[in-house]
């Protein structure tokens, strides 16, 4: 267990740029742009002589229930950075997985890692854990901090127009938002497993250019399947292959891709209770556990990772 912890820590040391700095910088740029927009809006507003006094009237008329729903709406604001950072996370995990078992073969530092008494299985699994658990947890922690900053920016904007922000903040649930986002991580790990498995398999197997094998080859193969399905008398759906095989292998690392790729899943989602905080309703995502698509993917992912471990052991090209 201790060894595994240090193996994951090693991944963090090596890929601080992707796991930590990429979401921080992306979130920071987003917040900066937002502040700029607010400033521009204020300049425009003063020039045009528009007043936002109507907000005050709203606040005066608001009862406890209104505050409650306002709090839920502001929980949504807390979630906004996590949407942006999800996209960043997808790219980080994609490129991390593609390089994870290839980069050290290219620079020959694999000879150093292999000179230590650590099994290839553990090494590969530590990289899988880094991609599927450490990366999303970092992304979520950073996104919630950014969310709070965003909330404060909105609060200060309102405060500038005479609305007390502290009362509003009391109706938000940052910790619950954090908890519900974190509870999403195991589901993400299961959903992204085939994708990470495929990319790591290519990373362990390719003698050169893992990106080409991992990304370009499936896309080109998909194009041929598409062409073939148009010309061939057999009736099979290229669309099905695209969404269930090709895009599943490449895009499942992007959180939220399950809504796009697994059509059954959306249909089976229970209706959300309108009075419930949107942030908490994320828990409904766990109906995904009932999807066959998910478990087929998990099985494929495990097989691909087993393959990656095997190639990690036998490839001796360094």
């Amino acid at each position: 267990m201790k060894t595994f912890f240090w193996l994951v820590k090693r991944e963090y040391w090596e890929h601080r740029g992707g796991f930590l700095w990429a979401p921080l910088v992306a979130g920071g740029i987003f917040l900066l742009l937002l502040i700029l927009m607010i400033l521009l809006f204020e300049i425009f507003r003063t020039h045009a002589g528009v007043h936002v006094g109507f907000l005050n009237t709203l606040v005066e008329k608001a009862d406890a229930g209104d505050w409650e729903s306002a709090g839920n709406a502001f929980d949504m604001i807390l979630l906004i950075p996590s949407i942006i950072l999800s996209a960043v996370l997808g790219f980080v995990v994609l490129f991390y997985s593609l390089g994870s078992l290839y980069d050290d073969r290219r620079d020959r530092s694999i000879l150093f890692w292999k000179s230590l008494p650590v099994s290839d299985t553990r090494t590969v699994l530590s990289k899988v854990a880094s991609a599927l658990i450490m990366a999303p947890v970092f992304s979520i922690l950073i996104s919630v901090v950014m969310g709070v900053v965003l909330l404060l920016i909105c609060g200060f904007f309102l405060a500038a127009h005479g609305i007390s922000i502290w009362r509003l903040l009391a109706y938000t649930h940052p910790l619950q938002v954090l908890g519900s986002l974190l509870s999403f991580v195991p589901l993400y790990a299961l959903w992204a497993l085939p994708s990470v498995g495929w990319l790591m398999f290519c990373s362990a197997w390719a003698r050169s250019k893992p990106f080409l094998w991992g990304v370009a080859v499936p896309l080109i193969a998909g194009l041929f399947v598409g062409l073939f399905s148009v010309m061939s008398p057999l009736s099979f759906s290229a669309k099905w292959i695209w969404s269930h095989v090709i895009l599943r292998a490449l895009l499942s690392v992007f959180p939220g891709s399950e809504f796009v790729l697994d059509a059954q899943y959306l249909k089976n989602m229970p209706d959300t209770n309108p009075n419930e905080s949107v942030a908490l309703s994320l828990l409904h995502s766990y109906t995904l556990l009932g999807s066959v698509e998910l478990w087929i993917g998990v099985a494929a992912g495990i097989a691909l990772i087993a393959g990656a471990i095997w190639f990690r052991r036998v490839r001796d090209d360094s």
Binding site: W6, E14, D107, F112, S115, L116, P117, V314
Partner: protein, 285 residues
């Protein structure tokens, strides 16, 4: 059992060539073995086989373990420096020490830090900022702090200046080597390891062509410096090699009678490099 490495019929074929051709040898404990051969002779393949980094045919036993199937146990007892620059470029000195300290059960952190204190390496330095010599110092510091029974060095001083090279082998002898440890080293800079070796193995085209300890080598091979007028006599004794220096001829003999040679001129033990050149004659022809 005293043997650290036992190989019999060790064979490794690549698609176009045979890297190891039925090699058999035994390396006892407490030796420093020089594995010397021309480029592409199979040295690195032999080391990779011992380290379980490559598949092979034949029998190979390292510290009682099979490197193909028991690699993880084996690596607790075996250390390995491939050549300079295999340490990952992103790692810091402190990270490297922390990592090895936490994954290697036989690592002595205090020893490693004491060794590092004698160098110019700082804990916050990254490998990519270091010179080749410093990288090898770091690697050596990590390896010397591991209480291993077998140390494998594959061209460990390639590309280092002479100060680092001398220091490398000096550290190895003074602070690391003892009768419980065994070192296998390959290098092209034969002169520099000549005085530290206890055993010598020449490898050529995947075969071991000479396997001897240094004392036996001195008994078997003799170099004699003969004046020009007696050179013809010496040639009749079928020397391995002949070369001219200052108008005299130097002959290298394998197993010739020492008294006869002494009567012809000044006799001495050949250097490994001269022996190597004589043995490998025609390798690239």
């Amino acid at each position: 059992m005293n043997a650290v490495v036992t190989a019999s019929g060790l064979t490794k074929r690549y698609k176009q060539s045979v890297a190891l051709d039925g090699v058999s040898f035994e390396i006892p404990s407490g030796r420093i073995v020089g594995l010397i051969g021309p480029n592409g002779a199979g040295k690195t393949t032999a080391l990779k086989a011992i380290l379980g980094l490559t598949d092979f045919q034949g029998q190979l036993n390292v510290l009682g373990l099979d490197p193909r199937t028991q690699r993880n146990q084996l690596m607790e007892q075996v250390c390995f420096i491939a050549d300079v620059a295999v340490l990952p470029r992103w790692i810091r000195v402190s990270e490297a020490v922390d990592f090895v300290a936490n994954v290697h059960p036989r690592f002595n952190r205090a020893k490693c830090e004491a060794f590092l204190a004698r160098t110019k390496l700082q804990p916050s330095m990254r490998v990519k900022q270091m010179s080749k010599g410093m990288i090898v110092q770091l690697h050596l510091a990590l390896v010397m702090a591991i209480d291993a029974r077998l140390l494998i060095l594959d061209e460990p001083t390639l590309g280092l200046d002479i100060l680092y090279r001398k220091q490398f082998y000096q550290n190895l002898l003074e602070d690391y080597f003892d009768e419980n440890k065994t070192i296998i080293v390959t290098t092209h800079q034969v002169e520099e390891i000549e005085h530290i070796l206890t055993d010598l193995m020449f490898i050529r085209d995947g075969k071991i062509v000479l396997n001897t300890d240094m004392d036996a080598m001195g008994d078997r091979f003799t170099e004699v410096m003969v004046a020009a007028d007696r050179a013809a006599d010496a040639r009749r004794l079928n020397p391995l090699d002949e070369r001219q220096v200052f108008g005299k001829s130097i002959f290298l003999f394998d197993g010739a009678d020492r008294a006869t040679l002494e009567s012809m001129g000044e006799v001495r033990r050949p250097s490994i490099s001269d022996l190597f050149v004589a043995t490998m004659k025609g390798t690239y022809a």
